[in-house]
Symmetry: C2
Subunit: 470 residues, 2 copies
């Protein structure tokens, strides 16, 4: 539903690009790393999402006539504008697979392109991947909390504008079962669901008539919202009446939905009364400001809830609201590049690199990813990036390379994956992560180690600019 | 840049609509209120934003062939799908003016339409207005904190996907001076700015060459980022060198940007050294995880900062991340409607209504909006909606009606407003709000009062459903 053009960027990308262009550096090759520094939500892992969308957009990204007109107004140089007229992304993309578990510091994606193309796509890349990775991770936490119960995304109304479209997609990757968002369902084949709001009940003179009308027209998937006036004294008894009428016609009420009040108490009481009426099959759905902590609490209270409808907190990634992903130059013009910082842990890793997942003989992730130079073979030991006296021997482990070339010269190398394939892959990966890393609070810290060669290359650059550490 | 179609909605809107349709109620007139219950960010007011976008989308909203195909797959009834094929929004919209100050409980917009149209647009309306109002309000708080300094939105990279497009728009309404977001600048005529990232500096073998190249190509708007290696020992001295070289050619360095470290200290030290070099005119811009509290602190420390670049916190509306706006049925099928709640303050106000701003003889807002039935004249006293013993006599005040008919039968009644007109209107309104309501922490609470007639109508409905309060 979007028409992305190449002005979906920050102006400084264009300003810098113009300098490169006018200084004859337009063909300078550059490598940028996309990575994040901090896991959101105090989670032990993040789920990488947004790659398919990014690749789709990159494949067709250009400056359209409105863009070029606007850049003229902005006083960009006519020669540079002519260059932009023919702009395409023709770079290479080395990426983690969408749905994989990703961790701080190590590159999630590397972009290799001429420096102008690499700069112009930076904002789009960050905007797409930061958000979807945030939401897939949030969804995964809710999935952990809800165990096997059904999770439905109800968030579009409180989403950050059209960001809600991608939020529904990312939530599915992170483990949701469906969405209320029709357009996301249409485009990504996410199961869509939704039945009745309070307004439907209010639009009738009494609740029972509203329920009866609805059940008559919509008998196959009938979920009645029971808290418009009074859950236990009106909504629930009326729902039971309708369910019994439906039974007379050989039909079954699918469920009731609780949208206010003490959900644990109301779910238990509703379950009891439904069961007493012989309606053990009627499901109980709940909604209203849910988040992973409330879901966890409801589960701990053994509330008999079949379906959780989750909105705002899911689709906005509350309270973090953003992943801190960055895009840093690692190589350009034939040389490795570095960004220093007084905060040692913020110093970047130079060069084209590869990332390996370290896996034990049973196929479990051991809790460390290894970062090496792209062409290194036979790395035997990895070192903590800041405290090199901490090291890990890789002798007994399997090393799985994580960065795959998915785009070459601007062309995709693999066929697009469906959303359900991505979600399935993500579930498989999560199953290989030991439970301590999935723990809800204070999870084990998944580590990163760098090879000796990478460390050496980095330290040479640090040395060159070492006045920064005075 | 968006192609909204009418499946930008929650599925239950369509399910309910189908029931209305098949039960012969498609022409039932309904009135819905859009309002929110809680001000975000502990602010004393919110700034209403998103109306122009909403009206533009409503004017052209339809189900396209992909939508209809998908709804067929979803087993909607063929007659209902034929109806949707001709769907247009043909309702009336009564709205607060965009940029106005709005407060909880009172309707910000009322929609009057056949019930199917009113339901189908609900999600889009909430999605658009909740988000932009959130961000305009956030921006306004930053504007209060930054006093007269320049505020630039840098947020697109960390925005919630394409929500960033509207965030830049809303930030401008709330008082920002510009954005880095090129496409938003293109479409909304927001001033765009941006010069140089660290990657530019890193892509050269030394910082000074990078600065010199940049200044050569971009002398008119040259802002040098000075913290790539070491702000005070490398970036700043190099920037001073460049500024002096520029002076030789009769040019002036526009500014330096600090993007890490102790911004207050670095700004003061940079100012001192720039001034000592006779570069009093060189501006100091800062960025890096700013929010309204940090801006306020920097101002209190009298940091000599000219430009604040604000990203994540602005465009995501962190930490709230959402406005809790809702859309509630107030009238349908010839009758006033109500949603009850055990929480008395959540009971809705029935009927078509008007909202008045109460203004004193000097043109200042006195701190109360009055809600009445739409056709009431001469309201003399308003009452607290929950505690009617609290009342306010309106005798000596001017009553300004706030809800304007902006759309009739789906057609806009007023010419679209430019973003700068909206922003200017917003500033004018804010100037009429007494300072206690603009206070950063614990602001005065702006009150809402309802007319006696509205109160009576509401209480009749409460009475009818009063079992809810057992």
């Amino acid at each position: 539903m979007f028409n992305y053009t190449a002005t979906y960027t920050d102006k400084y990308q264009l300003t810098m690009s113009q300098v490169y262009f006018l200084k004859g550096q337009k063909d300078t090759k550059a490598v940028f790393d996309y990575f994040f520094r901090k896991l959101p939500f105090n989670a032990g892992y993040a789920i990488f999402a947004g790659l398919e969308d990014l690749l789709n957009i990159l494949s067709i990204l250009r400056f359209d006539s409105h863009d070029l007109e606007f850049l003229k107004e902005q006083q960009f140089h006519p020669d540079f504008i002519s260059y932009l007229e023919k702009f395409r992304f023709r770079g290479n993309v080395y990426s983690s697979l969408e749905g994989d578990l990703v961790f701080p510091v190590r590159p999630v994606i590397q972009i290799e392109a001429n420096i102008i193309e690499a700069q112009i796509i930076e904002t789009l890349l960050l905007n797409t991947l930061n958000f979807q990775t945030l939401i897939a991770t949030k969804a995964s936490r809710m999935r952990q909390a809800a165990e096997g119960r059904i999770l439905i995304d109800f968030g579009l109304r409180r989403a950050q504008g059209p960001g809600g479209y991608y939020a529904s997609r990312a939530a599915y990757i992170g483990g949701f079962d469906g969405t209320s968002n029709v357009v996301a369902g249409r485009d990504y084949r996410i199961p869509v669901s939704g039945t009745m709001a309070h307004s439907f009940v209010e639009s009738y003179d009494d609740e029972l008539s509203a329920f009866m009308h609805f059940a008559e027209v919509q008998p196959e998937d009938c979920v009645l919202v029971v808290d418009t006036y009074d859950t236990l004294n009106s909504g629930l008894p009326n729902a039971i009446t309708v369910a019994k009428k439906m039974e007379e016609k050989g039909l079954r009420l699918n469920g009731i939905r609780l949208d206010s009040g003490d959900l644990a108490y109301l779910a238990k009481e509703s379950r009891r009364r439904l069961d007493n009426a012989g309606l053990e099959y009627v499901k109980i759905a709940v909604s209203n400001q849910l988040n992973e902590h409330i879901i966890k609490s409801l589960m701990e209270q053994q509330a008999p809830i079949d379906v959780f409808g989750v909105g705002t907190s899911l689709v906005t990634g509350h309270p973090d609201a953003a992943l801190d992903g960055v895009y840093k130059l690692a190589y350009s013009n034939g040389k490795a590049r570095i960004k220093l910082s007084e905060n040692v842990s913020k110093i970047t890793l130079p060069h084209r690199k590869q990332v390996f997942r370290v896996i034990d003989s049973e196929g479990k992730f051991i809790g460390a990813d290894a970062v090496t130079l792209a062409d290194e073979k036979e790395v035997e030991i990895i070192y903590h990036p800041v405290y090199p006296f901490k090291s890990l021997s890789l002798a007994k482990y399997i090393m799985e390379p994580l960065l795959h070339k998915v785009m070459e010269n601007g062309l995709r190398l693999k066929k697009p994956q469906s959303l359900s394939e991505i979600a399935q892959f993500s579930r498989n990966r999560l199953a290989k992560l030991p439970s301590e890393y999935k723990r809800f609070d204070n999870p084990h810290i998944y580590k990163i180690g760098i090879s000796n060669k990478l460390q050496t290359e980095r330290d040479i650059l640090i040395d060159k600019f070492k006045f920064a550490f005075k």
